[in-house]
């Protein structure tokens, strides 16, 4: 209903604009009410983020990160005003596509950024490509969008790939002396890819992956899965769950007595600030995650961002917030490189792809030729926050080891890596 009303307001606004232009320019410039050539003095950005539905909280984080950058740095870059319109994807791929359509066909945006969920991204990407509108993905990590389905219009600006952080995890676990692993992940693409990255590198070193458990999204009761894991006595458990599932998992991992007894390594979503925020320190302290972001990273770019974000929003920033904040930094740098000339789309895109951030809340970042970031991967640990953040959080993630300049292909040759299928529940890259 709200969307419907929102839509009619837009139509009304367009009509008014059309009438207004008709009055000023009687020669009928406003053909169709859409093709009003926008002067190069603005860049119309459509930000797709869920602000309703299950992923509403990450959606708000994304918008907050985006707004914070422009509030700090001014929204006019090299004479170009950043004109952002926000579209609610309602955590639903169909709505995300409808909104992308609206943004491109009715509102004439020149750049799409977002959405959040992998399935939303997969729905929007082909459409944006077809209409030759650049799509920036700071949070959507689906591997194939910058691998087997890479497109010149789709880039993971300030983003990441699902298995990018977990490829190092397999070798790390093996080097720790772990030889058998059990895995648990949500039954959908993001977790298949994340767990696959771990399974491939762990087994290539000689480790053995036992039972792989896939839990439906929205699992509240993890106890049966935990009993399975305990029965197997693995050396290490690798876990990738998201959102409320992460909260449930962490709570039960601790209350069923596995914490501190069974070594646990997780994908960063499990202990992202958005999940550990509501948990007690003893439920999460010491948990190791592999990540492209760590809010407790001891670096001035990260800490300036964390402190400013906390002051503005009264919580410590999640990776979603950091992604959109940094994406704004990226776009600003790109605009400066082309001196504000956004009319030449190819040039602007090439400039964005050539940006190399020497530092950002994530650390140094640049894009590879497929449009995926090359960046640090952190081994991080949940610790208590320092006193200055006590009002905003109980715990945060501190870096204990850094893998510098990690590519989405890890140490594999791209051609060789792309010859294997994308990780799924049937292909986990397990070496025989």
């Amino acid at each position: 209903m709200r969307r419907f009303l929102g839509g009619s307001y837009v139509v009304l606004a367009l009509l008014l604009v059309g009438v207004g232009l008709g009055g000023v320019a009687p020669h009928g410039l406003a053909v169709g009410g859409v093709a009003v050539a926008s002067p190069a003095a603005s860049l119309k950005v459509g930000l797709l983020a869920p602000t309703t539905g299950v992923a509403a909280a990450p959606g708000h984080d994304m918008i907050n990160g985006w707004k914070l950058w422009w509030a700090q740095h001014g929204d006019t870059v090299a004479g170009v005003k950043i004109d952002t319109t926000y579209y609610d994807t309602a955590s639903n791929p169909n709505t995300a596509l409808t909104q992308a359509r609206r943004a491109i066909e009715q509102d004439g945006v020149q750049l799409l950024i977002g959405p959040y969920l992998a399935n939303e991204g997969l729905a929007v990407a082909p459409y944006a490509e077809q209409h030759k509108v650049p799509l920036f993905l700071p949070t959507v990590s689906a591997d194939d969008l910058t691998q087997r389905k890479a497109s010149p219009y789709v880039t993971k600006v300030a983003g990441w790939s699902s298995s990018q952080t977990t490829h190092p995890a397999g070798g790390w676990a093996y080097d720790k002396g772990y030889r058998t692993a059990a895995t648990l992940g949500n039954a959908y693409a993001f977790a298949y890819e994340s767990v696959g990255g771990f399974a491939q590198t762990f087994t290539e070193k000689g480790g053995h992956v036992g039972k792989q458990l896939w839990t439906p999204l929205g699992t509240t009761d993890f106890s049966p899965y935990l009993s399975q894991i305990q029965a197997q006595h693995p050396d290490v458990v690798f876990v990738c769950v998201v959102g409320a599932d992460a909260v449930h998992f962490l709570q039960q991992w601790s209350s069923f007595g596995l914490k501190g007894k069974v070594p646990l390594v997780v994908q960063e979503t499990v202990t992202d600030q958005s999940s550990i925020r509501s948990l007690q320190p003893e439920q999460v302290l010491g948990i190791i995650a592999f990540s492209h972001y760590a809010e407790g990273r001891d670096d001035s770019a990260t800490q300036r961002f964390v402190s400013d974000y906390a002051t503005a929003n009264h919580v410590l920033p999640s990776y979603m917030a950091a992604g959109f904040y940094t994406a704004a930094q990226w776009i600003q740098t790109g605009l400066q490189l082309v001196h504000g000339n956004v009319a030449d789309q190819a040039k602007f895109l090439a400039a964005v792809r050539s940006v190399a951030l020497s530092d950002s809340p994530f650390g140094p970042q640049r894009l590879d030729q497929y449009g995926a970031p090359v960046q640090n991967v952190y081994v991080r640990e949940v610790r208590r926050v320092p006193d200055r953040y006590a009002a905003y959080a109980k715990t945060w993630n501190v870096v204990i080891q850094t893998y510098p300049t990690v590519s989405q292909f890890w140490t594999y040759k791209p051609s060789q890596y792309l010859a294997q299928p994308v990780y799924s529940n049937t292909f986990q890259g397990i070496a025989k």
């Binding site: 539905g53 509240t220 106890s223 209350s255 509501s278 007690q280």
Partner: protein, 285 residues
């Protein structure tokens, strides 16, 4: 051994949680023939209200009835202003409650934000018990007892009180009950209020297991349906037995055949629907 003990207790605890939702659901449906889709949304509002009270340092056991009372007020408003006109028309009533479910959902999101929240178990029950090699959260064990107590209290109400007699009469033959001069409408109000209270209080009671997050109500709704189908529509005992069956089947199913997690609860549902459509303890209509 530990494996089976943990899943047995886990299944009972999860079933007990489901009963907190299914009890009100079956009471309301049994008497009023209203499929209250908003029942799990009442539960969700109960968790959030309870969480807000806990954060204001209200004691857990006091916050439980307060969350229940809050949801009762919402429920009675919905019933008094909208639902009571339509409960004779099952389809309209169903759509109406669906509409309120969506509104409560979005209302909760607007009021409390969308971050997944965890609900701390009350003081003494926050820790875990160690029984040999088995570690089990105390609160989950306590919930098995709490749910059993609530079931016993509801059964006593149904069997031994005047209200219970009226409810039973209304369930059996509403027209005849009205013909005998029984104020069935008043019983409707009371039953709807009890149903809402159970869901609201149940929300906070179940909170330490479910937490609170947008979409919780949608995750629980199919389970509540499954419970009712297995137990028999309108039967309290059926709801209790059905809850435990679903709890145990889903827990053991996930533990033994994790690749079938999506289907485990629907196997007993399909079996019951084909072999005994009125449910385990339901009566033929």
């Amino acid at each position: 051994m530990t494996f089976y003990a943990q899943n047995l207790l886990g299944g009972l605890a999860y079933g007990s949680l489901l009963f907190l939702i299914a009890a009100g659901f079956t009471l309301i449906f049994g008497l009023m023939r209203v499929v209250n889709i908003a029942q799990t949304s009442f539960f969700l509002v109960g968790v959030y209200t309870g969480l807000t009270l806990l954060r204001a340092h209200v004691a857990f056991w006091l916050a439980v009835p307060m969350a229940g009372a809050t949801v009762t007020v919402i429920g009675l408003f919905i019933y008094r202003v909208f639902l009571h006109r339509y409960h004779a028309d099952e389809l309209i009533a169903l759509l109406l409650t669906l509409g309120f479910a969506l509104m409560l959902d979005d209302g909760a999101l607007a009021l409390w934000g969308g971050n997944p929240e965890s609900v701390p178990a009350p003081g003494a029950l926050a820790a875990s018990l160690q029984l040999g090699t088995l570690v089990f959260p105390s609160y989950w064990l306590a919930l098995i007892g709490i749910s059993l107590l609530i079931a016993a209290a509801l059964r006593a109400m149904e069997r031994r009180t005047m209200l219970g007699a009226i409810i039973r009469a209304g369930v059996d033959d509403e027209e005849m009950a009205r013909g005998l001069g029984i104020d069935v409408d008043r019983a409707f109000y009371i039953v709807f209020a009890i149903g809402a209270f159970l869901a609201g209080a149940g929300g906070l009671l179940g909170g330490p297991i479910t937490g609170a997050y947008p979409g919780l109500d949608g995750d629980l709704l199919p389970l509540a349906f499954a419970v009712i189908i297995i137990g028999g529509i309108g039967s309290l005992e059926g709801a209790y037995v059905g809850s435990l069956v679903i709890g145990l089947v889903s827990t053991f199913g996930k533990a033994l055949f994790p690749e079938l997690s999506y289907f485990t609860i629907f196997v007993p549902v399909a079996a019951i629907m084909s072999l005994r459509p009125q449910g385990l303890l339901g009566r033929k209509r």
